[in-house]
């Protein structure tokens, strides 16, 4: 596939927010202050499951400086959820009226003149609870005798998802070998550096302005309006800089809701910032999953069928967990061709912190199971893991039956490159091994459970008299660099320079609606909207150029590097700025404005395009202590045409660090529903000394649906790592790790069991 030569795309450009970020000028919701503002704090349930019988705030209200205490009774009591289209999945009152369902759930909120007073007031609120029996694990909660968490929900089953294609039983009949395994995948905290934060300012004209640390200003606007009984247009959400999201910040959270409710009653700005502990115990988390996987394969390595059942710990509410249930089941088939595939997922309510989407969206769990089992099958049958993956992998033009069409796919090249890399490493010392894992991921979801009446992405571009460009987008920069990516696409399309583009985002009052930053959707969807808007503006400019230059209409005109010219004779042209000035005069002073949007049509059930990758992890185990050392990570990666060179490297290295954390460090142990490590001392994330080199080999493909051929990058690479580490440990030590995270204790236990088995033989 040949690409045009690009002037801006995939060149070394600085992040357009870079100067603000390296000089301390970037102002996050955390930093926002307003005159007369109050500080809000949230009282949280100490019980995993309890009826709220009475809340007495008399003493708290008597404390000087306290302005208000609100409980569920002070709200409209609307049950909300991000699956807005489905009433039964809107199951969460942010301040519940009747009962609490997890430790840390908000029960009341206070606003006071200082943070200290607000905090002191929390101790003075008396809540009378009737403690109810609770259940914490999905396989317990699904039992007949388990306590009911939501009235009317049988066996606590929140959502189910069935995915099937082909004749699964017949395909199993053709298999020479069938293997089945159970896996347990843990949760993971998003651990955004900026905790959940919001500042709400409701004014007597009936308008609400809310600064929020959110992944989608538009979702926040819609959800807030819904629970507050306001029109969406009367709610303005601002998200200028966001200190990380990773899938945890696009639902309505208690910072947004409580600050807004209190501001509406007081007509004053109220700010709520979660402490790190609150962020751990009462935001959301990656969905813990139990997977049963049964796979049938022929002696020659041809995959026949797979059948999986998955039970996820949904925690107390639905949130985005319903989407993770679906995507986990779909990507569990990836990136292979199965004649028969069947997945039954059950999302089960428990009395724990709700689980939701997190970078990879259910796929890291699915791949941990799938990619390890494939290696074990290869070992069982004496097959080559690279060859088996190549033989069964997706290829360009493949249709996942009834689900997806694969228009671009660099999987085979990814496997080839990683095989070369692994072989070049040669023989490794004892207790050290390399594991591989391949996967793919979506470039934005095509589903609309939010019931947005707007196109999925939109952009408006306006050209000023001096040639500078105002680009208004609804897509949200949460650190992944989408503003820069959009500026690159705009500069390339219009034929101007990066410094000509100013991106406006994160403000619902000025930017068009867009579903925001989730499911790796923005480069493809918002990117297409930006490209379309810029093409629209450029076409208008070039119309004047034809008239101005007096050339034959059959000639093609283009703009590159601020030079408007005949494509066949690039020296014939005029400066872009001159053209803009003339166009303005010709249009009676109206500015050139272009509009663009993207809404997917006829793109299957999941996504318009899929990225592919294979990763290798080189790891060593200390057999005495079980301690893991990661020596190196290498990834071959197909994201179509890379757009933002520096941003891509950063996203892939960042994905590796988050996924390594998930694989062997990060855990959320609970006792009776109480998180045992809600702080950064006990919750272990990767720090600089543990981070290995994480190289990338880019595979050149072109995705026809993406802007300039681009597709997903940055989220999908959280998928393969846990499995690759598991396979490295299997290759090094001969033990099969079926539970995440892979801790030293679990390694030592597996080594003991292996020794016992060998002794029995």
């Amino acid at each position: 596939m040949s690409h045009a030569k690009y002037n801006v795309i995939n060149t070394h450009v600085h992040n357009i927010d870079g100067v603000a970020k390296v000089t301390g000028r970037a102002t996050y919701t955390f930093d926002v202050t307003l005159p007369g503002m109050l500080y809000g704090k949230i009282l949280r349930s100490p019980h995993p499951h309890a009826k709220i019988k009475n809340i007495d705030a008399t003493a708290a209200l008597a404390l000087p400086g306290v302005k208000i205490v609100v409980t569920g009774k002070d709200t409209l009591g609307i049950k909300q959820g991000i699956w807005r289209r489905y009433e039964e999945l809107c199951d969460e009152q942010v301040l519940p009226l009747e009962k609490v369902r997890y430790i840390g759930e908000p029960v009341a909120a206070v606003a006071a003149v200082t943070e200290e007073i607000a905090e002191a007031a929390l101790d003075l609120i008396e809540v009378d609870y009737e403690v109810l029996p609770a259940v914490y694990e999905p396989l317990e909660a699904i039992k007949k005798e388990a306590p009911t968490i939501h009235e009317g929900v049988e066996r606590n089953v929140n959502v189910t998802r069935h995915i099937e294609w082909g004749d699964v039983d017949e395909a199993f009949d053709e298999a020479d070998y069938i293997r089945e395994d159970w896996f347990k995948c843990s949760g993971q905290a998003h651990m955004c550096m900026e905790t959940r934060a919001a500042m709400s300012n409701f004014t007597p004209d009936g308008k609400l302005t809310c600064w929020a640390s959110t992944q989608s200003a538009y979702y926040t606007q819609g959800l807030l309006a819904g629970v507050l009984g306001l029109r969406e247009g009367d709610v303005r959400v601002l998200a200028p800089y966001v200190g990380g999201g990773f899938g945890g910040k696009f639902e309505l959270d208690a910072a947004m809701f409580c600050s807004a409710v209190m501001s509406m009653k007081l007509f004053k700005p109220v700010k709520v910032v979660f402490t790190r502990e609150e962020d751990f115990i009462a935001s959301k988390r990656r969905t813990p999953m139990f997977y049963y996987v049964r796979t049938g394969i022929k002696k020659d390595g041809t995959f026949c069928a797979r059948e999986s059942r998955m039970f996820s710990n949904g925690g107390a509410y639905t949130g985005m967990g319903a989407t993770a249930l679906y995507l986990s089941g779909f990507f569990h088939s990836f990136p292979y061709k199965w004649r028969g595939y069947r997945y039954d997922g059950y999302r089960v309510y428990t009395n724990t912190l709700p689980s939701t989407s997190m970078r990879g969206f259910g796929a890291p769990q699915a791949m941990f199971c799938s990619e390890q089992q494939i290696d074990w099958i290869c070992a069982d049958l004496g097959l080559d893991p690279f060859e088996v993956r190549r033989k069964n992998g997706h290829t360009e033009g493949y249709e996942v039956p009834g689900q997806a069409f694969i228009a671009s796919c660099g999987l085979k090249q990814c496997i080839d490159e990683i095989e070369k890399w692994v072989k070049a490493k040669g023989e490794l010392p004892a207790n050290r091994g390399i594991g591989i894992s391949s996967c793919g991921f979506m470039s934005g979801g095509i589903f609309n459970w939010f019931d947005s009446p707007y196109s999925f992405s939109s952009a408006v571009v306006t050209i000023n008299v001096d040639g500078t460009v105002e680009l208004h987008v609804g897509c949200q920069d949460i650190g992944q660099g989408s503003n820069t990516t959009m500026a690159i696409i705009a500069a390339e399309t219009l034929g101007v320079k990066m410094e000509d583009i100013r991106v406006h985002s994160g403000d619902t009052a000025h930017c068009p609606a867009d579903l925001g930053a989730w499911g790796s959707r923005q480069t493809l969807m918002a990117g297409n909207a930006v490209k379309m808007a810029c093409e629209d503006a450029k076409k208008q400019l070039l119309e004047f150029a034809y008239a101005e230059m007096g050339i034959n209409i059959v000639y093609d005109l283009d703009i590159k590097d601020r030079w408007v010219h005949i494509v066949a004779r690039p020296e014939r042209g005029l400066p872009y700025v001159d053209l803009v000035k003339k166009a303005l005069r010709a249009k009676d002073g109206q500015r050139i404005m272009g509009r663009g949007y993207y809404t997917p049509h006829r793109k299957g059930m999941i996504s318009p395009a899929y990225s592919y990758m294979m990763q290798a992890v080189d790891a060593e185990v200390d057999p005495e202590t079980g301690k893991i050392t990661i020596h190196e990570v290498m990834t071959a990666h197909d994201c179509g045409q890379p757009i933002n060179q520096l941003g891509l490297i950063g996203q892939l290295e960042g994905a590796a660090s988050m996924a390594l954390g998930y694989a062997y460090l990060e855990d959320m142990p609970m006792e009776d529903g109480k998180l045992m490590n809600p702080n950064l001392v006990d919750y272990k994330v990767i720090k600089a000394p543990q981070m290995p080199e994480a190289g990338i080999i880019e595979i050149d493909t072109y995705e026809p649906e993406g802007p300039y051929g681009a597709k997903e990058a940055g989220e999908g690479l959280t998928n393969p790592t846990a499995a690759a580490l598991g396979n490295a440990i299997y290759n090094a030590m001969g033990i099969q790790m079926k539970e995440l995270p892979i801790t030293p204790e679990r390694i030592l236990k597996a080594l003991r069991e292996k020794k016992e088995q060998e002794a029995q033989k």
Partner: protein, 159 residues
Amino acid sequence: MEKQKLSFKVNNDEYEVYIHPKTLLVEVIRDHLGFTGTKRGCETVSCGACTVNVNGASVKSCSVLAIQCEGMEVTTVEGLEKNGKLSPIQKSFLDHGSYQCGFCTPGMLMSASAFIAEAKDPTKDQIKESIEGNVCRCTGYNSIVRAIEAVTQGKYKEE
């Protein structure tokens, strides 16, 4: 508790503030003086987002009482640039894409700048250790290490 006077320098300017003795340095920097470049990411002195330099040494400003800084010189991220010219480590961060959400960046820059001022031909491991106290959830650290390395190798000059 009686308020006490604290006189100290922040980013080369003299300040006099009256504070409760238990007020943390980070609170004075952010809430009293308005230098919001310095962030806070935890309550357990674990994340390093609040790192500043006190008399040239990197310090987590949530771990010291402001009153302990009497007569001292504090530099925050806002003090790294001079008359609109970025410091070498700031320029290197831009070139290496060593930040994403940017929330850890001010603390990371302060740890790095204190290290660079002292380091002589540091190894990669020493560079990594210099930012061990700073958590970054976005970048995976390697781009930060490359940026620090480039400065210690003299690739960026003070303007």
